[in-house]
């Protein structure tokens, strides 16, 4: 509960302390809008405030549920992989809710303005970002499917040849059967990947289709682009976390000591090890890269 309380306090401080008009102005400035006035800053502040409050609304109950259900989970574990799912997933869900909420908002003034330009996904998210995200999703699915195919094969191999004696493989012999038997099913990883894909697609679609947040089409375009790019970046990082976990569950080190296994298993195991090590940092780098405002491109935006 200490973790929950401290997280609530930190997030509350963020929500209350940061989102004022200067915060909105800073957001717009970072995204290339230099001619700022009070209305633009207020619009951006409202955009930020809504998303941060919703993040709090989604994340705090999720934290409480997780810390209640996983009483025996150590703080280290809660701070590592599980917290990545929790934090990134909560932010993604809150973004989805925020865009949906913004989509419900209709113009109230009797005079309404629309810009005669058709909006597309490619206006908001660069193609390379979508390709990287979809590639990461494909890797996650491949890892999940490979896990469900490889594990039964490894178990058959193990049953055919007895495990090495304890004195020969003191660290692995006892773990070999236990590891393979204890691995939980793959479907939660597949479900997580699919849910992440659905959430990202939902945020991007809503960012394209929702009504204008302001009559200033440049500010509106910036807020849409930010939502879509942050969602794709977050989705990539979250999927990278799932991919790493799915790849780690392949446990190549166990298969390496199966007697009679083909030679390519060793090579594949080494390659798999490096992919497992690198995939998560790669996801974080892509997240930061995609989410960082593209100054030169935005400077050309009308």
């Amino acid at each position: 509960m200490v973790l929950v309380t401290s997280t609530v306090l930190v997030l509350s401080a963020v929500v209350v302390g940061v989102v004022r008009p200067p915060g909105g102005a800073g957001l717009l400035r970072r995204w290339g809008i230099v001619e700022l006035d009070g209305d633009k800053a207020r619009t951006a502040s409202r955009y930020l405030r809504e998303r941060r409050v919703l993040t709090l609304v989604v994340m705090v109950p999720a934290l409480v549920v997780v810390s209640t259900l996983w009483v025996n989970v150590s703080t280290y574990e809660l701070l590592s992989e599980a917290s990545m799912y929790l934090v990134l997933g909560s932010v993604l869900v809150s973004m989805l809710v925020a865009e949906w909420w913004a989509g419900l908002r209709r113009p109230q003034a009797s005079t309404r303005v629309a810009v005669l330009r058709r909006r597309r996904v490619s206006d908001l998210v660069p193609t390379y970002a979508l390709v990287l995200y979809l590639a990461m999703t494909a890797l996650a699915i491949a890892a999940d499917v490979a896990g469900s195919v490889v594990r039964p094969w490894a178990q058959r191999m193990l049953q055919r040849s007895p495990p090495p004696a304890e004195r020969e493989r003191p660290f692995l012999a006892g773990d070999l059967y236990r590891d393979l038997a204890a691995i939980p099913p793959d479907w939660p990883f597949l479900a997580g990947t699919a849910a992440c894909l659905a959430a990202v697609a939902g945020v991007v679609w809503l960012a394209v289709t929702r009504p204008m947040a302001t009559e200033d089409d440049r500010v509106d375009a910036v807020l849409r682009a930010r939502s879509a790019r942050v969602a794709v970046g977050l989705g990539t990082a979250l999927t990278a976390t799932i991919t790493q976990a799915a790849l780690a569950r392949l446990r190549p080190q166990s298969f390496l000591f199966v007697q009679g296994a083909p030679d390519w298993v060793t090579t594949a195991g080494t390659a798999l090890y490096w992919v497992t090590v690198l995939v998560w940092p790669l996801g974080i780098v892509i997240w930061i890269w995609v989410t960082t405002p593209p100054r030169r491109r935005l400077a050309r935006t009308p």
Partner: protein
């Protein structure tokens, strides 16, 4: 910097039905050259959402302009400007003709001379093309 996209303003208190405001403004923007032939328009849903109108209201304006041959809807490319509205181009031509007649008369040219000059200008431009 690319050119700013044209805007459409609907005033619900003006007494003019919103679909007519949308239709007339689109006609005006096309006739004035702000929307050229081949320009892509927003989808009905996008325009209706941005203006806070029912999709049917915008659809009616688009349908009227499609019937008049000003807009064309293709399955993949969406709604495009197909042609400059005939009535609007006739009006623009009449304005130009009136201006030309005034200037020709100021130069002392009679109708035949003015028509001959106009014909010669047309012939000259056709040769250049």
């Amino acid at each position: 910097m690319t050119a700013a996209a044209p805007r459409l303003v609907v005033d619900l208190d003006s007494g003019v039905p919103p679909w007519r405001q949308v239709r007339d403004q689109l006609l005006g923007l096309i006739a004035a050259g702000h929307l050229t032939v081949g320009a892509q328009l927003p989808t009905i849903r996008q325009l209706a959402t941005d203006l806070g109108l029912a999709a049917g209201t915008v659809a009616r304006a688009y349908r009227e302009l499609e019937t008049a041959g000003v807009l064309h809807t293709a399955r993949r490319r969406g709604t495009l400007v197909a042609a400059i509205p005939a009535a609007q181009s006739q009006t623009a031509l009449a304005t130009l003709a009136a201006d030309y007649a005034t200037r020709a008369r100021a130069l002392g040219a009679d109708l035949d001379t003015a028509l001959a000059a106009c014909r010669a200008a047309y012939t000259h431009q056709e040769h250049r093309q």
